[in-house]
């Protein structure tokens, strides 16, 4: 990128022509163009630049709203009852209110990534300089596909990223303003803005990850990124332990640096929870991952951590309270999460350490990462012998005694507080009789929220009972996950672009998002294994990437040890933390750019149209929980990529659903002739909630079909769809006639069976077009 500010100041200039004093000349930016690709039609789009594209998608995938609340309580004219067609005091109806809340969630998500990104870029510029190059690895020419596509510029240095973030922050402010009372009044326009928030979120994520990959030296698009340890059992409890929690890695990375500089590496365990853990192992593979965000309570209460360092996002807000129970000091390191702690940024290290070790303070708020590192390490070393890994997880005897106090309330407040409706009363009844299996069986299904304890009228530490009953299990929790590799190489895209677009690789399945699973993390691993064995390309990120690694096969191997990290058929690719999700979108964009040679620069509509009609990619956010997950998903929707969520995802309060029974919804233009051609419901939905993993797998296989599939490719995709359907549903799918365009689409093994169905349905052969939703792409003579 080549925009720089110039400022000239002359105190005094005297020449034959004139005498000038106090001249100040500022030029905002000078464009020194180095990128030969001409600027596309939509550089730095504003809220409505891509509205027409959004409307095309939203016409096909109409919102189905599931209000989570019947009222609006956002202004003082309310609360307003929005049931039975009533409008609120401002005139808003229930549909607008739902889409408005979805937009708010996406703005929160995008702002969170943007603020994270801004902090990282500023930190890295200070540490490495504004001219530090963007370098994603030797195999990556298109280093920032989203930035090129959306913003229309090609960043070359860390300094170039600041300008991209200026645009991101501007757009988030504009979007957020539209949710104010008396602004947007149409639900579809709100939905269009949701898409815009998602696209902006992807841009923010890309900036964050390419900055940290470039400057921190993370694995650079490396399919052979190292395997790292994950699980509670991987911690060497004989050593002082520093636990890092969150998403923004600089404090954790500084701890590693300090340990290396002081020769203490190996004497102290540094382990992480949530995305900071991913990024820490990308920084140094000797660091360890405890697990996804739902592992926080169980690990803190285990007492293994001698110091806890939190940065930002997905941190339990009661971390300080919980840590005090195990006498573990907490160091808060970002302005976004101060935890009520005193600002010790300018205090001496020794004084802070002394206060923490002597328990004069429960923690400290320190904004200087070098000081954070020194304080954390020194405190851990001094405190570990004193704490003796003091834990609040009860032993078996205490659990049994505690369970005897359970009054087996008639209306089970513990169970009713549990998001997964776990049978806690029955497990407590068993425990009161000395049998702990019932509690132990809840371990895998528990999302670690602790709501059961707050609901218990006898104040029993039910979550701790579950962990205590599973203690042997947690000790044996030792697995492997491949460190996040970052981007996908251009050469990989060249290799798989054709097979994906033509349908011969049956699809790209992205298992992403948080750990709010309805039935345990094993379901994510099972889905990953199923699709990898079927030679889909499986990509993963965040907590889902961790869950995939936390199970072993009969030979004792985790999935990351069984499948390669190549972005290729049968590969299992961990891209990294939340912000590394941008590489998944980036890969889809690069297929359009590198393989199909579509113009990339500021050419959003055309690239999204290409992806929607040709790239069989599907996201599965099985435990999606956060506002960030919402904005990540919405970024994929605008690219035309469908997303499936698990049952808890219904609480996002609206889906984007196609209607396969409405033929009129499934026409595209044939770019060769300009004719409108029926292509079937491909893909059928844009945002879909599945009830079971079996349903999700069948739907994912179906959603990989695209209008552009060749007959061979469609046959491969249909064979997976039918096979999965028969296996899980026990029947042939009843909608197969929608997906067969020509006889040659039908897999040979089931040809007779399918042809019989097609004859019954009155099916007719159809053409396979060069599909587009954009009339301007029709190749006119």
């Amino acid at each position: 990128m080549s925009k720089k500010g110039i400022s000239v100041k002359l105190d005094k200039l005297k020449s034959e022509l004139a005498e000038i004093s106090n001249l100040q000349l500022s030029i905002g930016r000078v464009i020194t163009e180095e990128w030969i690709e001409p600027m596309g039609p939509t550089p730095a789009p504003t809220l409505t630049t891509l509205r027409d594209w959004d409307y095309k998608l939203l016409q096909r995938y109409k919102p189905f709203y599931m209000p989570y609340c019947d009222v609006c309580c956002l202004c003082t004219m309310g609360k307003c009852d929005l049931t039975q067609g009533k409008r609120g005091a401002c005139g808003l109806d229930i549909w607008c209110q739902q889409s408005r809340i979805v937009l708010l969630a996406c703005c929160i998500g995008a702002a969170t990534h943007a603020a994270h990104s801004r902090h990282l870029v500023e930190y890295l510029i200070e540490k490495y300089g504004r001219d530090s190059p963007i370098d994603l690895g030797t195999g990556v020419e298109i280093e920032a596909p989203i930035t090129r596509l959306v913003y229309g510029e090609k960043p070359k240095t860390l300094g170039d990223l600041e300008e991209v973030l200026d645009y991101v922050e501007n757009q988030i402010t504009q979007l957020l303003s539209s949710t104010h009372t008396g602004q947007e009044g149409n639900n579809i326009d709100f939905e269009s803005k949701v898409f815009h928030a998602g696209m902006i979120d992807h841009l923010a994520m890309e900036v964050a990850d390419i900055a940290q990959v470039s400057a921190f030296g993370f694995p650079k698009a490396d399919p052979n990124a190292p395997l790292v340890d994950i699980g509670m059992g991987v911690i060497d409890s004989t050593k002082p332990v520093i636990l890092v929690i969150g998403h923004n890695v600089p404090p954790a990375a500084q701890i590693i640096d300090y340990l290396s500089e002081t020769g203490l590496m190996g004497n102290v365990e540094v382990a992480g929870i949530c995305c900071t853990a991913h990024d820490l192992t990308r920084y140094n593979p000797k660091a360890k991952i405890i697990g996804p965000l739902s592992w926080q309570l169980r690990f803190i209460r285990s007492g293994l951590a001698d110091v806890i360092v939190v940065d930002e996002q997905c941190i339990r807000t009661d971390v300080l309270i919980e840590a005090q129970r195990t006498m573990t000091p907490v160091i808060a390191t970002t302005e976004k999460d101060c935890l009520g702690l005193p600002n010790r940024t300018f205090d001496s290290v020794d004084r802070i350490v002394s206060d923490l070790v002597d328990r004069k303070a429960p923690g400290a708020f320190i904004l200087d990462t070098q000081k954070v590192a020194e304080v954390a390490v020194k405190t851990a070393l001094l405190l570990a012998p004193k704490r003796m890994k003091f834990k609040v997880i009860p032993d078996a005897k205490s659990i049994i005694e505690g369970a005897k106090k359970c009054s087996q309330c008639r209306y089970s407040p513990c169970r009713r507080a549990c998001p997964n409706d776990l049978p806690i009363p029955e497990a407590m009844r068993q425990a009161s009789q000395g049998v702990l299996d019932g509690l132990a069986n809840l371990y895998d299904l528990c999302i670690g929220c602790g709501r059961c304890e707050h609901a218990c009228i006898n104040n029993q530490p039910i979550h701790s009972f579950i962990i205590g009953a599973s203690e042997r299990r947690t000790r044996e929790e030792k697995f492997k996950v491949r460190a996040g590799r970052g981007a996908i190489q251009d050469v990989e895209i060249r290799k798989v672009g054709g097979p994906i677009v033509l349908g011969e690789i049956p699809g790209v399945i992205a298992l992403v998002g948080c750990s709010n699973y309805s039935n345990g993390g094993i379901e994510v691993a099972q889905m990953a294994e199923e699709f990898a064995k079927r030679r889909y390309i499986v990509v993963a990120s965040g907590c889902s990437a961790m869950s995939i690694g936390m199970y072993r096969d009969e030979e004792g191997k985790t999935l990351y040890e069984q499948f390669s990290g190549d972005f290729d058929a049968g590969g299992l690719v961990n891209v990294g933390s939340c912000v590394a999700n941008s590489h998944i979108a980036g890969a889809a964009i690069k297929i359009a750019s590198i393989f199909a040679k579509r113009k990339l620069r500021a050419n959003y509509e055309e690239i999204a149209d290409y992806i929607h009609n040709r790239v069989g990619a599907v996201g599965i956010a099985w435990g999606a929980m956060s506002q960030k997950a919402a904005s990540i998903a919405s970024g994929f929707w605008r690219l035309g990529v469908p997303v499936i969520v698990g049952p808890h995802g219904s609480k996002y309060r609206r889906m984007l659903l196609g209607r396969k029974d409405r033929e009129e919804d499934w026409y595209v233009y044939d770019a060769r002739t300009g004719e409108k051609v029926y292509v079937g419901p491909c893909p059928e939905h844009l945002f879909y909630v599945a009830e079971t993993k079996e349903e999700a797998m069948v739907m994912a296989a179906k959603l990989c079909m695209r209008p552009n599939d060749t007959t061979r490719g469609r046959a491969i995709k249909l064979s997976h769809y039918v096979d999965l359907h028969k296996r899980f549903y026990g029947t042939m799918p009843d909608d197969i006639h929608y997906f067969v365009r020509r006889e040659s689409d039908i897999p040979i093994m089931i040809k007779d069976e399918v042809m019989k169905i097609l004859r019954e349905k009155g099916w007719k052969e159809n053409v396979i077009p060069d599909p587009t939703l954009l009339p301007r792409l029709i190749k006119r003579e």
């Binding site: 019947d70 229930i94 409706d421």
Partner: protein, 177 residues
């Protein structure tokens, strides 16, 4: 009679389901319905009520009045294995999206449904789907036959014990027959 949502924080708003205190309420609603349909979630195959599964009660209710069944998720094979003929497989969110459409002609093409009976979905998913229908399908009545109160249905059982639930379901079956 008022009732509390099973998951304690799931407070809906001003419009809450009528509480089914006697089975006759369900029986009357079903008998009066011109086009009833049952939507059965995967938990119906997991929940035991004494010797039987919830799905077996569902089948008896459906058979008593020839009510078509939509088996959601992947459970259609459970119905087929039990010899049920009048059953369709459709995702829960898809059938909900069809039911809100007053112009949808139904699974048999004979017109829209006027009563949808839900049972066996995860509590919170049924909660949100019923909310969607409450707001978008004013001409559709909904009943939840789960043993937990679903405030967004038109009619729902309150939170019941297994024994109370079994008694209610058996009584509905007897009276429908």
């Amino acid at each position: 009679m008022s009732a509390e949502p099973w998951q304690t924080a799931e407070i809906p708003g001003p419009l809450k389901a009528f509480v089914i205190t006697k089975p006759i309420a369900v029986v009357t609603l079903i008998k009066r319905a011109k086009r009833p349909i049952m939507i059965v979630g995967h938990e119906a195959t997991k929940i035991n009520i004494d010797e039987k599964k919830l799905i077996d009660y569902v089948i008896e209710i459906a058979n008593a009045k020839q009510i078509p069944i939509v088996a959601t998720a992947h459970i259609i094979k459970e119905f087929k294995e039990r010899g049920v003929e009048n059953v369709f497989s459709m995702p829960a969110i898809d059938i909900a999206n069809r039911l809100k459409d007053s112009e949808w002609r139904g699974l048999d093409g004979n017109g829209p449904y006027d009563l949808a009976i839900f049972v066996g979905l995860p509590y919170y998913m049924e909660w949100t789907i019923l909310s969607g229908l409450k707001h978008s399908a004013p001409n559709l009545r909904t009943i939840s036959l789960d043993r937990t109160y679903q405030p967004h249905a038109s009619w729902s059982f309150p939170n019941l014990t297994i024994d109370e639930w079994r008694t209610q379901l058996n009584e509905i079956i007897t009276q429908l027959k």
